[in-house]
Amino acid sequence: MEKISVIIDGKTLEAARDRCVLDVARENGIYIPSLCYNPEVKSSGGSCRVCLVEAHQRGRMRMVTACNYPIREGLEIKTDTPLVHRIRRGVLELLISRVPDSEAVRDMAAKEGLTETRFRKDEGENNRYKCIACALCTNVCAEVVGVHAIAMENRGADKQPATPYHKPSDVCIGCGACAYACPTGAITMKEKDGVRRIWQKDFKMVACSVCGTPYIPEAQVDWIVKKTGKDRSFFDKCPDHR
């Protein structure tokens, strides 16, 4: 990859062309908050807007999301200006209004000195159950897992991830990648007596032949075997005892 130099908060840094600003900033110890972005998921990002920063280029300034803005020649990024903090606070205040119960949002807001919202909260019948509709879960499901068990439904404030028609999905393998990836812990996944429940569906877990811990849904083993041709017996033992 071609290396070019870019200025972030006054520091001149070397980075590969087209990498995103957020990754480069983080590798250099510069804090930019983010929720909807995961470096391992190409289709993620651009939605929550907490990573908005100032991009100065060719004599022009605009606000861009650090998570998907490509590093280019002559780019200067500012992450610590009054405008950046003002917009970040604004976004976080709206997120508190949307998901007042989310610790992740509250913690991030606290870093900006923000503890409450002046706006109506989505509570009662509008409770969003911590979901900020960022679509990281559906992006993981489609792009990383490759099963498309969930997708975003509705539009506007009612946008949310769901299985088709809110019925247990035929294709879900119960892998829980969506729940692990969720930045606000909005997806419930419970396990009891060797059965995992997620997206209104129960999945029988395979127990480790050594320690006896149920550790992977059978459906996920089926999926991996089908996709990779790996021998099924490989999954007899959990990663700790292989």
Binding site: L52, M63, T65, R155, G156, D158
Partner: protein
Amino acid sequence: MGIIASAEELERYREKLAAEAKPDLPTVLVCFGTGCQANGSRPVAEAFAGIIREQGLELDVNIGIKTTGCHGYCENGPLVALKPQGILYLKVKPEDVAEIVEETVKGGRVVERLAYQDKATSETIAQYSEIPFYKHQHRIALRNIGAIDPTDIDDYILAGGYAGLAKALGMEPDDIITEIERSGLRGRGGGGFPAGTKWRSCVAVKSDTRYVMCNGDEGDPGAFMDRSIMEGDPHSVIEGMIIGAFAVGAHQGYIYVRDEYPLAVKNLGSAIEAARSRGLLGDNILGSGFSFDIKISRGGGAFVCGESSALMRSVEGNVGEPRAKYIRSVERGLYDRPTVLNNVETWANVPEIMVKGADWYAALGTEKSKGTKVFSLVGKVNNTGLVEVPMGISIRELVEKIGGGIQGGKKFKAVQTGGPSGGCIPERLSDLPVDFDSLTEAGSMMGSGGIIVMDEETCMVDVARYFINFLVDESCGKCTPCRDGLPRMLDVLTAITEGRGREEDVALLEELCDLLTWGALCGLGTSAANPVLSTIRYFRDEYDAHIKEKRCPAGVCKALITYSIDAEACTGCMLCSKECPQGCITGERKKAHVIDAERCIRCGVCKDVCRYDAVRIS
């Protein structure tokens, strides 16, 4: 006629059509645009056909009946134009048809009661071209609409159609782009991006495949210019796209039309078929060796799909959501290939520019906004409908000259331009020229060309609330500022219109506007603040009246007004008491009536029906 194999053959075919055409043949043109069809133009056309059959009219007069696209003057439909007299009749009913045939077609006389009556001068104007609504127009994109039958490709060819394509195919692609650049044509869909620059950027990107697309997802409330073009002159769009495709080297095109436009879908579909059958679309177009075809993609009715990146995702079969445009669609658009997307009106201009040249086009309009623009002029003006005027015409000229002034002689207050994310411009700025840059500077935008005229009885806070409400419903929900910010903005606006506004609310609204403008993902979100910002900028006093005095100066916001009857003016005709849905108006015949304010729901029916202007709002 089958395949037309060359440009020369096209010209010969056009000459043959011209020789067969009889310009003096009496022709009755019945508008078959959506508006006129809804007003009953089909039975009118059938009545004409019936009379022609009954009277065996070919003996003395030959009448060709053509069904045409929208004339733009929909409010007065069904419209019937008569050639060669050049007469336009308004609001024609089937029972008028016999009289029109007898008087005008056979006798050459005007049926006065069906002709246009000027509201200001009470003058009867029968000549199409003399009616003020049409007189001040300059039609390029709408050049054929109302004059040709959109379902007959020969009609389009006879009117000069596909000559622009024939000329373009004989040029170097690069020269075509230069011509479009020199013409100054800017995108008519809203952004006003120079079309030639867009095409050139697309060509500059290395790729084995490129696409051209047409955005027909017109979704602004009250806007229907693109529908009119797709319905009334579909070949102009198709021809423009073929020229664009040849210029950038695309072999596949897509027209994205909203499915709520069934007639547009139908007419475009049949026009594509007809163009293919003539060798104007498909393989080896006009024998040039260039191949290009067009598919229609029907939208499902999401406003956001008019946004370029969302539109492309929708055509691909994905959820119609915008994406960050840090990499432009001319580089990576549809299926990640370089793509030129222009809107319907932009494409419709292209053939005419090819025929008449860049200089001709660039001579029209203003320094930075060339050519003409189609507007849908609606709201409280006397003449509403579609108008095409040179860029740079003033708002006042549009409203007064073409629109015929405000209805009922009321005071002109403001215009709202640019669709739901446009802004309101007050009467005092109405000498402002209508072009891309002036409107943006004034806090509004050109958008796709909707112009809503408002009179003194329009509450500007209520207008802002109306548009934000629309945008709340249409937000795709992908980004936080738009998804969660707009509903909060609506909360604040609703509180103000309901008399619950607080002193700090205007500042709070401005804060949310700032957040949207800087922080939203797509153009819809970043411009969604315009209705609020522009009304605060120009009508701050109305916000203050609502908040501080709990008063709606325009008498619109129901929570802040009461209806009463002026005992002096009331004649006791009893009409209001009969019409009141609440039955809360009492009074004896010929004596002043009284409204029970407790039970009144402020629907305004009494005020609407009162013939003596006795109902007061306070």
